[in-house]
Subunit: 215 residues, 2 copies
Protein backbone atom coordinates (compact mmCIF):
# COMPACT_ATOMS: atom_id res chain seq x y z
CA UNK A 1 0.00 0.00 0.00
CA UNK A 2 2.94 2.37 0.58
CA UNK A 3 5.07 4.06 -2.01
CA UNK A 4 7.95 1.75 -1.15
CA UNK A 5 5.88 -0.98 -2.73
CA UNK A 6 4.17 1.13 -5.39
CA UNK A 7 6.61 3.87 -6.44
CA UNK A 8 4.14 5.30 -8.92
CA UNK A 9 1.53 5.97 -6.21
CA UNK A 10 1.14 8.76 -3.64
CA UNK A 11 3.26 9.61 -0.62
CA UNK A 12 1.96 9.12 2.93
CA UNK A 13 3.40 11.63 5.42
CA UNK A 14 2.34 11.79 9.08
CA UNK A 15 3.09 14.34 11.79
CA UNK A 16 3.20 13.25 15.38
CA UNK A 17 3.92 14.81 18.76
CA UNK A 18 2.35 15.85 22.06
CA UNK A 19 0.30 19.01 22.58
CA UNK A 20 2.05 22.31 21.94
CA UNK A 21 5.04 21.07 19.91
CA UNK A 22 3.98 23.02 16.81
CA UNK A 23 2.19 20.43 14.69
CA UNK A 24 -0.24 23.01 13.28
CA UNK A 25 2.55 25.37 12.28
CA UNK A 26 4.46 22.51 10.68
CA UNK A 27 1.34 21.37 8.82
CA UNK A 28 0.82 24.88 7.47
CA UNK A 29 4.43 25.01 6.28
CA UNK A 30 4.13 21.61 4.58
CA UNK A 31 0.87 22.63 2.94
CA UNK A 32 2.49 25.80 1.54
CA UNK A 33 5.52 23.84 0.37
CA UNK A 34 3.41 21.25 -1.48
CA UNK A 35 1.27 23.97 -3.05
CA UNK A 36 4.35 25.79 -4.34
CA UNK A 37 5.83 22.52 -5.57
CA UNK A 38 2.57 21.98 -7.47
CA UNK A 39 1.89 18.64 -5.78
CA UNK A 40 -1.50 17.01 -5.65
CA UNK A 41 -2.16 16.51 -1.93
CA UNK A 42 -4.72 16.27 0.85
CA UNK A 43 -4.32 17.25 4.50
CA UNK A 44 -6.30 15.22 7.02
CA UNK A 45 -6.28 14.38 10.70
CA UNK A 46 -6.83 11.71 13.33
CA UNK A 47 -9.01 11.08 15.15
CA UNK A 48 -11.38 12.23 12.41
CA UNK A 49 -11.13 12.82 8.70
CA UNK A 50 -14.53 11.44 7.62
CA UNK A 51 -18.08 12.32 8.79
CA UNK A 52 -18.38 9.07 10.81
CA UNK A 53 -14.84 9.41 12.19
CA UNK A 54 -15.53 13.03 13.20
CA UNK A 55 -18.60 11.81 15.12
CA UNK A 56 -16.39 9.30 16.93
CA UNK A 57 -13.86 12.11 17.55
CA UNK A 58 -16.59 14.01 19.42
CA UNK A 59 -17.18 11.01 21.69
CA UNK A 60 -13.42 10.69 22.25
CA UNK A 61 -12.62 14.30 23.01
CA UNK A 62 -15.68 15.79 24.68
CA UNK A 63 -15.00 16.11 28.41
CA UNK A 64 -17.48 13.97 30.34
CA UNK A 65 -17.67 14.70 34.03
CA UNK A 66 -20.22 11.94 34.69
CA UNK A 67 -18.19 8.98 33.47
CA UNK A 68 -14.55 7.96 33.05
CA UNK A 69 -13.65 6.52 29.67
CA UNK A 70 -11.95 3.11 30.08
CA UNK A 71 -8.50 3.07 28.33
CA UNK A 72 -9.52 0.13 26.14
CA UNK A 73 -12.65 2.02 25.04
CA UNK A 74 -10.43 4.92 24.02
CA UNK A 75 -8.11 2.60 22.08
CA UNK A 76 -10.99 0.88 20.25
CA UNK A 77 -12.58 4.22 19.35
CA UNK A 78 -9.24 5.45 17.98
CA UNK A 79 -8.90 2.37 15.79
CA UNK A 80 -12.57 2.61 14.72
CA UNK A 81 -11.83 6.14 13.48
CA UNK A 82 -8.63 4.98 11.85
CA UNK A 83 -10.21 2.11 9.89
CA UNK A 84 -12.87 4.45 8.56
CA UNK A 85 -10.25 7.09 7.71
CA UNK A 86 -7.98 4.62 5.92
CA UNK A 87 -10.68 3.13 3.72
CA UNK A 88 -12.61 6.31 2.96
CA UNK A 89 -9.78 8.84 2.67
CA UNK A 90 -6.18 7.63 2.81
CA UNK A 91 -6.22 4.62 0.49
CA UNK A 92 -8.29 6.29 -2.26
CA UNK A 93 -6.02 9.38 -2.21
CA UNK A 94 -2.81 7.31 -2.34
CA UNK A 95 -4.28 5.16 -5.11
CA UNK A 96 -4.94 8.38 -7.05
CA UNK A 97 -1.25 9.30 -6.69
CA UNK A 98 -1.76 12.08 -4.15
CA UNK A 99 0.31 13.04 -1.16
CA UNK A 100 -1.57 12.35 2.06
CA UNK A 101 -0.47 14.51 4.99
CA UNK A 102 -2.07 13.34 8.23
CA UNK A 103 -2.00 15.13 11.57
CA UNK A 104 -1.41 11.93 13.61
CA UNK A 105 -1.91 8.26 12.69
CA UNK A 106 -1.31 4.93 14.41
CA UNK A 107 1.93 5.97 16.18
CA UNK A 108 -0.32 8.20 18.28
CA UNK A 109 -2.08 5.11 19.70
CA UNK A 110 1.28 3.67 20.76
CA UNK A 111 2.09 7.01 22.42
CA UNK A 112 -1.26 8.00 23.94
CA UNK A 113 -3.05 4.72 24.69
CA UNK A 114 0.18 2.73 25.11
CA UNK A 115 2.59 5.16 26.81
CA UNK A 116 -0.04 7.48 28.27
CA UNK A 117 -2.76 5.03 29.37
CA UNK A 118 -0.51 2.04 29.94
CA UNK A 119 -2.18 -0.43 27.56
CA UNK A 120 0.19 -3.25 26.65
CA UNK A 121 1.93 -2.42 23.37
CA UNK A 122 1.38 -5.98 22.11
CA UNK A 123 -2.39 -5.30 22.08
CA UNK A 124 -1.91 -2.21 19.95
CA UNK A 125 0.42 -4.11 17.61
CA UNK A 126 -2.26 -6.78 17.25
CA UNK A 127 -4.87 -4.18 16.22
CA UNK A 128 -2.38 -2.51 13.89
CA UNK A 129 -1.43 -5.75 12.17
CA UNK A 130 -5.05 -6.76 11.67
CA UNK A 131 -6.62 -3.43 10.74
CA UNK A 132 -3.89 -1.46 8.98
CA UNK A 133 -2.40 -4.41 7.13
CA UNK A 134 0.47 -2.95 5.07
CA UNK A 135 -0.49 0.69 5.27
CA UNK A 136 2.32 2.48 7.08
CA UNK A 137 3.43 6.07 6.51
CA UNK A 138 6.28 6.56 4.08
CA UNK A 139 7.68 9.12 6.48
CA UNK A 140 6.75 10.30 9.96
CA UNK A 141 7.84 13.63 11.40
CA UNK A 142 8.07 13.43 15.19
CA UNK A 143 8.10 16.89 16.76
CA UNK A 144 9.66 16.38 20.15
CA UNK A 145 9.82 18.59 23.23
CA UNK A 146 9.57 18.03 26.99
CA UNK A 147 5.94 17.91 28.11
CA UNK A 148 6.44 21.01 30.25
CA UNK A 149 7.37 23.14 27.23
CA UNK A 150 4.53 21.73 25.11
CA UNK A 151 1.90 22.27 27.78
CA UNK A 152 3.14 25.77 28.51
CA UNK A 153 2.61 26.66 24.84
CA UNK A 154 -0.72 24.81 24.54
CA UNK A 155 -2.36 26.35 27.58
CA UNK A 156 -3.01 29.66 25.85
CA UNK A 157 -5.30 27.99 23.30
CA UNK A 158 -8.66 28.10 25.03
CA UNK A 159 -10.84 25.22 26.28
CA UNK A 160 -9.04 21.90 26.52
CA UNK A 161 -10.53 18.65 25.26
CA UNK A 162 -10.79 15.48 27.37
CA UNK A 163 -7.29 14.26 26.56
CA UNK A 164 -5.66 17.70 26.74
CA UNK A 165 -6.97 17.98 30.30
CA UNK A 166 -4.55 15.26 31.42
CA UNK A 167 -1.63 16.16 33.67
CA UNK A 168 2.07 16.68 32.94
CA UNK A 169 3.07 13.12 33.94
CA UNK A 170 0.63 11.73 31.36
CA UNK A 171 2.20 13.78 28.56
CA UNK A 172 5.71 12.78 29.63
CA UNK A 173 4.63 9.14 29.26
CA UNK A 174 3.12 9.97 25.84
CA UNK A 175 6.39 11.61 24.78
CA UNK A 176 8.30 8.55 25.95
CA UNK A 177 5.80 6.35 24.07
CA UNK A 178 6.59 8.23 20.85
CA UNK A 179 10.35 7.94 21.37
CA UNK A 180 10.05 4.19 22.14
CA UNK A 181 7.96 3.72 19.03
CA UNK A 182 10.57 5.53 16.94
CA UNK A 183 13.20 3.07 18.15
CA UNK A 184 11.17 0.25 16.56
CA UNK A 185 11.15 1.83 13.12
CA UNK A 186 14.00 4.38 12.92
CA UNK A 187 14.16 4.47 9.16
CA UNK A 188 10.61 5.80 8.88
CA UNK A 189 10.95 8.57 11.49
CA UNK A 190 12.53 12.01 11.37
CA UNK A 191 12.96 13.38 14.88
CA UNK A 192 12.62 17.17 14.99
CA UNK A 193 13.69 19.10 18.08
CA UNK A 194 10.65 21.31 18.69
CA UNK A 195 12.44 23.41 21.32
CA UNK A 196 14.43 25.09 18.55
CA UNK A 197 13.46 28.52 17.21
CA UNK A 198 10.63 28.23 14.65
CA UNK A 199 12.96 29.30 11.84
CA UNK A 200 15.22 26.30 12.48
CA UNK A 201 12.24 23.92 12.52
CA UNK A 202 11.15 25.35 9.16
CA UNK A 203 14.65 24.88 7.72
CA UNK A 204 14.64 21.25 8.88
CA UNK A 205 11.19 20.66 7.36
CA UNK A 206 12.27 22.20 4.07
CA UNK A 207 15.37 20.00 3.92
CA UNK A 208 13.29 16.87 4.55
CA UNK A 209 10.66 17.81 1.94
CA UNK A 210 13.33 18.75 -0.62
CA UNK A 211 14.92 15.33 -0.15
CA UNK A 212 11.62 13.51 -0.80
CA UNK A 213 10.82 15.78 -3.71
CA UNK A 214 14.13 15.00 -5.41
CA UNK A 215 13.70 11.25 -5.12
CA UNK B 1 -16.48 -12.85 37.25
CA UNK B 2 -19.51 -15.05 36.65
CA UNK B 3 -21.64 -16.71 39.27
CA UNK B 4 -20.16 -20.06 38.36
CA UNK B 5 -16.97 -18.79 39.90
CA UNK B 6 -18.54 -16.64 42.61
CA UNK B 7 -21.78 -18.35 43.67
CA UNK B 8 -22.58 -15.66 46.20
CA UNK B 9 -22.61 -12.95 43.51
CA UNK B 10 -25.25 -11.82 41.00
CA UNK B 11 -26.64 -13.59 37.96
CA UNK B 12 -25.87 -12.43 34.42
CA UNK B 13 -28.68 -13.13 31.94
CA UNK B 14 -28.59 -12.02 28.31
CA UNK B 15 -31.27 -12.04 25.61
CA UNK B 16 -30.28 -12.40 21.99
CA UNK B 17 -31.99 -12.64 18.63
CA UNK B 18 -32.62 -10.80 15.37
CA UNK B 19 -35.13 -7.98 14.91
CA UNK B 20 -38.77 -8.82 15.56
CA UNK B 21 -38.33 -12.04 17.55
CA UNK B 22 -39.90 -10.54 20.68
CA UNK B 23 -36.92 -9.52 22.79
CA UNK B 24 -38.75 -6.51 24.25
CA UNK B 25 -41.77 -8.60 25.25
CA UNK B 26 -39.49 -11.22 26.81
CA UNK B 27 -37.56 -8.51 28.68
CA UNK B 28 -40.78 -7.11 30.06
CA UNK B 29 -41.85 -10.59 31.22
CA UNK B 30 -38.48 -11.20 32.90
CA UNK B 31 -38.60 -7.80 34.58
CA UNK B 32 -42.08 -8.54 35.99
CA UNK B 33 -40.96 -12.00 37.11
CA UNK B 34 -37.89 -10.67 38.94
CA UNK B 35 -39.93 -7.90 40.56
CA UNK B 36 -42.49 -10.40 41.84
CA UNK B 37 -39.72 -12.70 43.03
CA UNK B 38 -38.31 -9.74 44.95
CA UNK B 39 -34.94 -9.94 43.21
CA UNK B 40 -32.46 -7.11 43.12
CA UNK B 41 -31.86 -6.57 39.39
CA UNK B 42 -30.98 -4.13 36.63
CA UNK B 43 -32.05 -4.21 33.00
CA UNK B 44 -29.60 -2.81 30.47
CA UNK B 45 -28.83 -3.01 26.77
CA UNK B 46 -26.14 -3.15 24.12
CA UNK B 47 -24.98 -1.18 22.34
CA UNK B 48 -25.44 1.37 25.11
CA UNK B 49 -26.04 1.23 28.83
CA UNK B 50 -23.81 4.14 29.93
CA UNK B 51 -23.74 7.80 28.79
CA UNK B 52 -20.54 7.27 26.74
CA UNK B 53 -21.81 3.96 25.33
CA UNK B 54 -25.12 5.58 24.37
CA UNK B 55 -23.15 8.25 22.47
CA UNK B 56 -21.34 5.48 20.60
CA UNK B 57 -24.73 3.80 19.98
CA UNK B 58 -25.83 6.95 18.17
CA UNK B 59 -22.81 6.76 15.86
CA UNK B 60 -23.50 3.06 15.27
CA UNK B 61 -27.20 3.24 14.54
CA UNK B 62 -27.85 6.62 12.92
CA UNK B 63 -28.37 6.09 9.19
CA UNK B 64 -25.67 7.94 7.25
CA UNK B 65 -26.36 8.36 3.56
CA UNK B 66 -23.03 10.10 2.91
CA UNK B 67 -20.70 7.35 4.07
CA UNK B 68 -20.68 3.56 4.44
CA UNK B 69 -19.50 2.26 7.78
CA UNK B 70 -16.66 -0.26 7.34
CA UNK B 71 -17.51 -3.63 9.05
CA UNK B 72 -14.38 -3.44 11.21
CA UNK B 73 -15.37 0.07 12.36
CA UNK B 74 -18.75 -1.33 13.40
CA UNK B 75 -17.10 -4.20 15.29
CA UNK B 76 -14.67 -1.89 17.13
CA UNK B 77 -17.47 0.50 18.09
CA UNK B 78 -19.52 -2.41 19.43
CA UNK B 79 -16.62 -3.58 21.59
CA UNK B 80 -15.87 0.00 22.69
CA UNK B 81 -19.47 0.21 23.96
CA UNK B 82 -19.16 -3.20 25.55
CA UNK B 83 -15.97 -2.46 27.49
CA UNK B 84 -17.51 0.71 28.88
CA UNK B 85 -20.73 -1.13 29.71
CA UNK B 86 -18.94 -3.99 31.46
CA UNK B 87 -16.77 -1.79 33.68
CA UNK B 88 -19.33 0.88 34.48
CA UNK B 89 -22.51 -1.18 34.77
CA UNK B 90 -22.29 -4.97 34.58
CA UNK B 91 -19.35 -5.75 36.87
CA UNK B 92 -20.39 -3.35 39.66
CA UNK B 93 -23.97 -4.73 39.62
CA UNK B 94 -22.82 -8.36 39.69
CA UNK B 95 -20.35 -7.55 42.46
CA UNK B 96 -23.25 -6.09 44.44
CA UNK B 97 -25.12 -9.38 44.07
CA UNK B 98 -27.69 -8.13 41.55
CA UNK B 99 -29.18 -9.86 38.57
CA UNK B 100 -28.05 -8.18 35.35
CA UNK B 101 -30.44 -8.64 32.43
CA UNK B 102 -28.92 -7.36 29.20
CA UNK B 103 -30.69 -6.92 25.88
CA UNK B 104 -27.79 -8.30 23.80
CA UNK B 105 -24.11 -8.81 24.68
CA UNK B 106 -21.05 -10.25 22.90
CA UNK B 107 -22.92 -13.07 21.14
CA UNK B 108 -24.51 -10.29 19.09
CA UNK B 109 -21.09 -9.39 17.64
CA UNK B 110 -20.59 -12.99 16.53
CA UNK B 111 -24.03 -12.90 14.91
CA UNK B 112 -24.11 -9.38 13.41
CA UNK B 113 -20.48 -8.50 12.65
CA UNK B 114 -19.42 -12.14 12.18
CA UNK B 115 -22.41 -13.78 10.48
CA UNK B 116 -23.98 -10.61 9.08
CA UNK B 117 -20.91 -8.64 7.97
CA UNK B 118 -18.62 -11.59 7.34
CA UNK B 119 -15.78 -10.65 9.73
CA UNK B 120 -13.67 -13.70 10.58
CA UNK B 121 -14.91 -15.20 13.85
CA UNK B 122 -11.32 -15.62 15.08
CA UNK B 123 -10.97 -11.79 15.14
CA UNK B 124 -14.06 -11.48 17.31
CA UNK B 125 -12.82 -14.25 19.61
CA UNK B 126 -9.54 -12.37 19.97
CA UNK B 127 -11.35 -9.19 21.05
CA UNK B 128 -13.60 -11.16 23.37
CA UNK B 129 -10.71 -12.96 25.05
CA UNK B 130 -8.79 -9.74 25.56
CA UNK B 131 -11.57 -7.36 26.55
CA UNK B 132 -14.19 -9.50 28.31
CA UNK B 133 -11.73 -11.75 30.09
CA UNK B 134 -13.85 -14.15 32.13
CA UNK B 135 -17.12 -12.26 31.98
CA UNK B 136 -19.59 -14.50 30.17
CA UNK B 137 -23.34 -14.62 30.79
CA UNK B 138 -24.53 -17.27 33.20
CA UNK B 139 -27.39 -17.91 30.82
CA UNK B 140 -28.32 -16.66 27.35
CA UNK B 141 -31.82 -16.82 25.94
CA UNK B 142 -31.74 -17.04 22.16
CA UNK B 143 -35.09 -16.14 20.63
CA UNK B 144 -35.04 -17.73 17.21
CA UNK B 145 -37.24 -17.28 14.16
CA UNK B 146 -36.66 -17.12 10.41
CA UNK B 147 -35.61 -13.64 9.31
CA UNK B 148 -38.75 -13.28 7.21
CA UNK B 149 -41.01 -13.64 10.24
CA UNK B 150 -38.88 -11.31 12.37
CA UNK B 151 -38.73 -8.60 9.73
CA UNK B 152 -42.44 -8.86 9.05
CA UNK B 153 -43.13 -8.16 12.71
CA UNK B 154 -40.46 -5.45 13.04
CA UNK B 155 -41.54 -3.41 10.03
CA UNK B 156 -44.54 -1.94 11.82
CA UNK B 157 -42.31 -0.21 14.36
CA UNK B 158 -41.55 3.11 12.68
CA UNK B 159 -38.22 4.45 11.39
CA UNK B 160 -35.50 1.84 11.09
CA UNK B 161 -31.94 2.41 12.33
CA UNK B 162 -28.85 1.85 10.17
CA UNK B 163 -28.61 -1.87 10.94
CA UNK B 164 -32.36 -2.52 10.80
CA UNK B 165 -32.30 -1.14 7.24
CA UNK B 166 -30.32 -4.18 6.07
CA UNK B 167 -31.96 -6.74 3.79
CA UNK B 168 -33.44 -10.18 4.49
CA UNK B 169 -30.28 -12.08 3.44
CA UNK B 170 -28.28 -10.12 6.04
CA UNK B 171 -30.64 -11.13 8.85
CA UNK B 172 -30.62 -14.75 7.73
CA UNK B 173 -26.81 -14.67 8.06
CA UNK B 174 -27.19 -13.06 11.50
CA UNK B 175 -29.61 -15.78 12.57
CA UNK B 176 -27.17 -18.43 11.32
CA UNK B 177 -24.39 -16.60 13.23
CA UNK B 178 -26.38 -16.92 16.44
CA UNK B 179 -27.09 -20.62 15.88
CA UNK B 180 -23.42 -21.30 15.07
CA UNK B 181 -22.37 -19.47 18.20
CA UNK B 182 -24.78 -21.52 20.28
CA UNK B 183 -23.12 -24.68 19.03
CA UNK B 184 -19.84 -23.49 20.61
CA UNK B 185 -21.35 -23.10 24.07
CA UNK B 186 -24.54 -25.18 24.25
CA UNK B 187 -24.64 -25.34 28.03
CA UNK B 188 -24.99 -21.57 28.35
CA UNK B 189 -27.76 -21.15 25.77
CA UNK B 190 -31.49 -21.77 25.92
CA UNK B 191 -32.98 -21.77 22.42
CA UNK B 192 -36.53 -20.45 22.36
CA UNK B 193 -38.69 -20.92 19.29
CA UNK B 194 -40.03 -17.42 18.73
CA UNK B 195 -42.54 -18.54 16.11
CA UNK B 196 -44.68 -20.06 18.90
CA UNK B 197 -47.70 -18.22 20.26
CA UNK B 198 -46.66 -15.62 22.84
CA UNK B 199 -48.28 -17.62 25.63
CA UNK B 200 -46.00 -20.58 24.95
CA UNK B 201 -42.92 -18.32 24.91
CA UNK B 202 -43.97 -16.94 28.30
CA UNK B 203 -44.44 -20.43 29.69
CA UNK B 204 -40.95 -21.38 28.51
CA UNK B 205 -39.45 -18.23 30.03
CA UNK B 206 -41.19 -18.90 33.33
CA UNK B 207 -39.90 -22.48 33.44
CA UNK B 208 -36.33 -21.28 32.79
CA UNK B 209 -36.53 -18.54 35.41
CA UNK B 210 -38.11 -20.88 37.97
CA UNK B 211 -35.24 -23.32 37.46
CA UNK B 212 -32.60 -20.64 38.11
CA UNK B 213 -34.56 -19.29 41.05
CA UNK B 214 -34.68 -22.70 42.70
CA UNK B 215 -30.93 -23.29 42.38
Amino acid sequence: MTTQENPQKGFFLTIEGIEGVGKSTALKFIQDYLTQANKNFIVTREPGGTPIAEQIRQVLLTPNSAETMIPETELLLMFACRVQHIHQVILPALAAGKWVVSDRYSDASFAYQGGGRGIDVSRIEMLEKWLLQDLRPDLTLLLDAPAQIGLERAKHRGPQDRIEQEKMAFFERVRRGYLDRMQQDKKRFRLIDATQPLENVRTTLKRILDAINQQ
